[in-house]
């Protein structure tokens, strides 16, 4: 006779610690805290000649530095949650920056909204190729990345574009409200918007399903293709916005501006707990991700570390974090813990 179901799910038996670790991005958070503490302690010892490490002022400078990455990372989170990727964001940023610089002469609206529009269109191309034609997102965006990068160089005719002075525009990049720089404010707004969209809208919640099980999504009446294409459009728009801030900050644009940045952005998203397989991730995690990368660089400087050693450390921490994530998910039992 078949017994009553012996799997009892009455109470969640996990300890509070395990529950916390289960939250996406918790690993990075802990790593971040540990790092900051480490730097605070070590920097006066290791690098007494340096400026020391004041956490408060550093938070703001880190955020300012990471603005471009942060804005794009938020949008990219959506793309990755649906199980895709976008390797063209670096080149897109370069191209839109060049376009932006050349639009400044036409006024604030043109410079800001025109650029965002251009970015959105570039993103739309990605969206059509990936979800419309159902092409592999990795190779496709690798290809569009090369194309956009070339366009940038051609557009700038090899040199750089220096826009004319425009106070309102420049304020976006160089101004501040109180002690908080404008870019950081814009970043905060973008983070809030994407967090809201992801967690609180039908569109956002559906993205998780598309990434976790596209078949089930289809059976539930979700139009995966349209939603996927939209994530690419949003990414393009976000890139446009980031470009605006970038140009407003330095008041010039050159074609090599952001090459290679896509890897850093992807890393930020994945560090924050977003799974490259899709179906999992949060904006908060992404924020912790790019904040961590920023603090790594920042703290390393305070410790007097060679810029390149920073990369090595970042790489090692990334590998460790990714491994820990996978092992947690797959429930890998450590060999020495195996019983029997």
């Amino acid at each position: 006779m078949i017994e009553k179901n012996s799997i009892s799910v009455a109470k969640d038996p996990r300890s509070p610690l395990k529950k916390f670790m289960g939250i996406s991005g918790s690993g990075v958070f802990i790593a971040l805290i540990i790092w900051i503490v480490l730097v605070c302690i070590l920097s006066p010892i290791v690098n007494p000649a340096g400026n020391g490490f004041n956490v408060a002022t550093n938070i703001i400078s880190v955020l300012k530095q990471q603005t471009y990455i942060g804005i794009v990372a938020c949008a990219l989170t959506l793309v990755i949650i649906t199980g895709n990727i976008d390797l063209s964001v670096g080149s897109m940023l370069t191209l839109t920056a060049c376009v932006c610089a050349s639009l400044v002469q036409y006024g604030f609206a043109a410079a800001v909204f025109g650029t965002i529009l251009v970015g959105a269109l570039l993103g739309l191309v990605n969206g059509i190729l990936v979800s419309g034609l159902q092409l592999n997102s990795f190779i496709t965006t690798l290809g569009t990345g090369s194309i956009y990068g070339s366009f940038a160089i051609i557009y700038c005719s090899g040199g750089s574009i220096v826009p004319p002075s425009l106070a309102a525009f420049e304020f976006l990049g160089k101004g501040s409200v109180g002690i908080i720089p404008m870019p950081v404010i814009i970043l905060a707004v973008v983070v809030a918007i994407f967090a809201f969209v992801l967690m609180k809208t039908v569109f956002g919640q559906r993205l998780y399903v598309i990434g976790a099980n596209p078949v089930a999504a289809r059976y539930s009446g979700i139009s995966a293709r349209r939603d996927m294409a939209l994530t690419y459009v949003f990414t393009g728009a976000a890139v446009g916005l980031a470009a605006v801030i970038m140009v407003a900050n330095v008041m010039s644009a050159k074609p090599q501006a952001a090459s290679g940045k896509e890897m850093e952005i992807i890393m930020a998203v994945v560090l924050g707990g977003t799974s490259i397989m899709g179906g999992k991730g949060t904006i908060l995690g992404t924020v912790l991700g790019f904040a961590f990368i920023g603090f790594l660089a920042n703290g390393s400087t305070a410790l007097g570390l060679n810029q390149y050693l920073q990369w090595v450390i970042m790489g090692i921490i990334l590998v460790a974090a990714l491994s820990a994530d996978i092992m947690k998910e797959k429930g890998v039992v450590l060999p020495w813990k195996k019983s029997k």
Binding site: I139, I154, M263, Y308, V319, L322
Partner: protein, 328 residues
């Protein structure tokens, strides 16, 4: 609802052959255009071959990994790191031979790291190799931050350079040691993939992992070895690069991952694994290098190369998508 029975005993399905090897068609077109349409094309061909050999090593290594269904985006800086190691050990020991061995060992280690994280821990190869790339990149840049990292002693530098310039056949423009070694490796791998048990396992791992496991093949081990081989090949490329420039260069690894992936995909290696041969890699390699050469000869800026490769990549994907739909 029976599918048409395919009896390939007698006739060859030419249409299928064409579709499967669209890279060959592209290559053919390029050669025709070059030979008949472009001035000095034939004259510059030998240098194309020589330059291709370096990138060829990276592409071949990556191709191996891709056949098993994985990827390796750290190929560029594995090569860069190897170049650094070559110079370091050369400075320390004065022996080029030891330096080369050390570099290859370093490459193998890189491969072990990649392979371990991907096959044993199970991290997705895409982000795993982006992460390890940072490690390799950092180590490379740490030594070459001033622009390049050369042997301290000029005589050592000459020894280093001699490796690349060494001509196996005197007077020949392209029969250098590099080309010879790469050709040998290429043929060797062609052979291994086709004629050994391991080679067959590589294809099975990429095509249907479960079927392989069910048949008793250790697919994780198979994939791990491809990463190690890739590491060694990248290291060899790094040695040659160091030799060519007389030292390790600052930006050597930049963009190489994109280039290597493009070569493989355009040549016909599938991202999903299980399909493709060294010949495909070779075709992709020559397509890319010939285009670069043609653009050079026609005095077009280098940036159009990127544009072309990007368009080609997407074109290949689209052709693939629509021809496989027809089959279904």
């Amino acid at each position: 609802m029976e599918k048409k029975q395919v009896t390939a005993l007698g006739g060859v399905n030419y249409r299928k052959l064409l579709v499967d090897n669209n890279s060959a068609v592209i290559l053919l077109i390029l050669l025709v255009v070059g030979v008949f349409g472009i001035d000095k094309f034939i004259k510059t061909f030998p240098s194309v071959v020589v330059q291709a050999s370096l990138y060829g090593l990276l592409a071949v290594g990556l191709g191996l990994v891709m056949i098993t269904g994985n990827i390796d985006l750290s190929v560029g800086y594995q090569a860069g790191l190897a170049a650094v190691v070559t110079v370091m050990v050369l400075n320390a020991t004065g022996s080029l031979a030891i330096a080369v061995v050390a570099a290859l060992a370093a490459g193998a280690l890189c491969g072990v790291l990649n392979g371990f994280v991907v096959t044993q821990i199970g991290v997705s190869p895409l982000i795993a190799t982006i992460a390890t790339n940072y490690i390799f990149k950092g180590l490379t840049y740490a030594k070459t931050s001033t622009g390049s990292y050369s042997p301290t002693d000029n005589s050592l530098k000459d020894t280093l350079k001699a490796l690349y310039d060494f001509k196996v056949v005197d007077g020949s423009k392209f029969m250098t040691l590099t080309v010879l070694i790469v050709a040998v490796i290429f043929i060797l791998l062609l052979f291994v993939l086709r004629k050994t048990r391991y080679g067959n396992s590589v294809y099975i791992t990429g095509d249907n992992v479960e079927a392989g496991e069910y048949a008793g093949i250790h697919t994780k081990r198979v994939a791990m070895i491809t990463y190690i081989l890739c590491g060694i090949l990248c290291a060899l490329a790094g040695v040659f690069m160091a030799s060519r420039s007389g030292g390790a260069q600052y930006t050597q690894g930049d963009g190489m991952d994109v280039l290597a992936v493009s070569i493989c995909v355009i040549g016909g290696i599938k991202m999903t694994g299980g399909k493709g041969t060294m010949v495909h890699v070779l075709m992709g390699l020559f397509i890319m290098r010939i285009i670069t050469n043609i653009l050079n000869l026609v005095r077009v800026e280098a940036t159009y190369m990127d544009l072309t490769s990007g368009i080609l990549l997407i074109a290949v994907l689209i052709i693939d998508r629509f021809t496989s739909r027809k089959k279904a």
